[in-house]
């Protein structure tokens, strides 16, 4: 009896352990696969033409700058929309709304986060793009701005949900301390609660941005997919093409092993590295803030 129990214990521990390790294994495998398929691109196309601003694979123009700039401008636009809106919503839910309102809003926001992005893209094409074309008097409604709006909408639930948790975990004593000193509700939020939840709110922003930059389906549907280098604010209202949309649109039709194929994987690598950087920044911010919080509370 004793024997079989410890034996079972051993098996279960090992099983859990291996499923834990498998996450590391998968990430490593994906990365090596990306490297194996993407790195040859550097041998087949020289770096200067990769950094060109013309993407036209059929004529062997593999400049990825327009794609990177496309991704950046759409993501930046999305962040500018999602961050203030998301944090505002989180503050409202956590600090201002009465209890019954909170109980309605929170599940609704989470529901929004679960909406398939293709549905949002569909709405974008049918409703948002024609509206923007008429309203802003543009030649086409399929622009970076349209993508930003929708991506912002996709990122908002992530931002709200994480930021709201962070605000909620600020000790009540902080708020009461501020109230007892005669702080107004707004002063308490702005000068006590938000600073105290800073790390969580920053994580929320980072996760929201990460969600936006990796999003494919919606941007492919609504940004017009024109690989033009974004040069300024004006490009926000012109069609662009993002890295994700390029991979998704072209990977299916490319000849396996060709230069084009390798370059697409190279783009995947760039994307992987960008989201890695975002995640590392996010977790280091959280780590530092946690250490500080431990010092305060000890």
């Amino acid at each position: 009896m004793e024997k079989s129990l410890s034996w079972r214990e051993f098996i279960i521990t090992r099983l859990i352990q291996s499923s834990g390790y498998s996450a590391i294994l998968f990430v490593a495998l994906i990365f090596f696969f990306l490297l194996r398929e993407g790195l040859p691109a550097l041998g087949e196309v020289d770096v200067s033409s990769l950094l060109n601003f013309r993407w036209y694979p059929i004529e062997s123009y593999f400049g990825i700058l327009p794609l990177i700039s496309g991704s950046l401008i759409v993501t930046l636009g999305a962040a500018l929309i999602a961050v203030p809106f998301g944090i505002g919503t989180a503050v409202y839910i956590s600090e201002v709304a009465p209890r019954w309102m909170r109980e309605i809003l929170k599940p609704l926001v989470e529901l929004l986060g679960g909406l398939p992005s293709v549905v949002l893209g569909f709405l974008g094409i049918l409703v948002l793009a024609p509206f923007l074309r008429v309203f802003l008097n543009l030649p086409t409604g399929l622009t970076a701005f349209t993508g930003s709006l929708l991506l912002g909408g996709i990122a908002v639930p992530t931002v709200v949900s994480v930021a709201e948790d962070a605000l909620d975990s600020v000790p009540r004593a902080y708020r009461e301390g501020a109230w007892a000193l005669g702080a107004t509700r707004w002063q308490t939020i702005w000068r006590v609660t938000l600073p105290a939840a800073k790390s969580g709110v920053l994580t929320a922003v980072m996760l929201g941005v990460g969600r936006a930059i990796g999003e494919t389906m919606t941007v492919m549907m609504v940004t017009g997919n024109a690989p033009v280098l974004a040069t300024g604010l004006g490009s926000l209202f012109a069609p662009v093409r993002t890295m994700t949309a390029t991979i998704a649109a072209e990977m299916g039709e490319v000849a396996n092993g060709s230069t084009h194929y390798h370059v697409l994987f190279f783009i995947g690598m760039v994307l992987f590295i960008i989201s890695l950087i975002v995640n590392v920044i996010a977790s280091s911010v959280v780590f530092r803030a946690k250490k500080r919080a431990e010092r305060i509370l000890s």
């Binding site: 004593a173 708020r175 000193l181 702080a183 107004t184």
Partner: protein, 252 residues
């Protein structure tokens, strides 16, 4: 002596059904330490939190009665709660110093109130730290982080932060519950000085502290005010059996 605060038939019930105060009436005199004591769940903290309307932010099912400060009913919905809280300061059981320098902690409330003149702020820092009996310990490091201070020092900084606002009434909710005896002694000594200028209401963390500090003492049990009177006679010669049992340590 003049009653600064008059509480009339105050009852309060939280929305989870617990009845916290039952028909409490008492007068709280100016320039004295009034101690509210009794076992946990007696309604002492609730009463404190009514006095600066901090209970507004908790879920309350029903409340009735009046609290008059200088003759004005502060439970009136028309009361300016922010102004009230500047008039009635509060110190909590766990010191909540903010992660900034000592000086910034002290002037925080004043800045919230819109005070910008540096001379006024400096004056307030020195005055309030002196009154809280911590000036000598921190005067050379006002710009260092308040978080590095010991628990007892932090609690006195919190007291100074309240004093800086020049309130009329100071509420203290078990201010020494986490402190060592020496720090506790310093806080109590500060109270002794402070009562010359302020009306002080203290929820002590022990009967001994209640007996040491009380000019007037009120004994609360399960939401009811059992006995209220002069500090000395209440602890040496209680009129109610329940008060006597508690003071003698027979229960609680």
């Amino acid at each position: 002596m003049v009653d600064k605060i008059i509480i009339e038939n105050l009852s309060l019930q939280y929305s989870d059904g617990t009845e916290s105060l039952r028909n409490v009436s008492m007068g709280i005199p100016q320039n004295a330490v009034t101690v509210l004591f009794g076992p946990a769940g007696g309604g002492k903290s609730t009463l404190l939190r009514c006095l600066n309307r901090l209970n507004d932010l908790t879920e309350i099912k029903a409340s009735s009665g009046r609290i008059l400060i200088d003759g004005e009913n502060i439970l009136d919905p028309k009361t300016d709660v922010i102004a009230l809280r500047r008039r009635v300061g509060m110190v909590f059981a766990r010191p909540v110093t903010l992660p900034m320098s000592i000086r910034e902690n002290i002037i925080y409330g004043l800045e919230l109130a819109g005070e910008k003149r540096k001379s006024k702020l400096d004056e307030a820092v020195e005055r309030s730290l002196k009154l809280s009996a911590i000036w000598d310990e921190v005067k050379d490091r006002l710009d260092e982080s308040a978080i590095e201070l010991s628990g007892g020092q932090q609690q006195r900084v919190c007291l100074a932060r309240v004093i800086a606002l020049q309130p009329q009434v100071i509420l203290l909710d078990e201010p020494t519950s986490g402190l060592d005896p020496i720090s506790t002694g310093k806080v109590e000594a500060a109270l002794f000085e402070l009562k010359k200028e302020y009306t002080i209401i203290l929820v002590p963390h022990s009967v001994q502290q209640a007996a040491r500090t009380a000019d007037h003492a009120a004994f609360f049990l399960t939401g009811e005010l059992i006995e209220y009177g002069d500090g000395k006679s209440l602890f040496t010669n209680p009129k109610q059996k329940k008060t006597e049992d508690y003071v003698m340590g027979r229960f609680g």
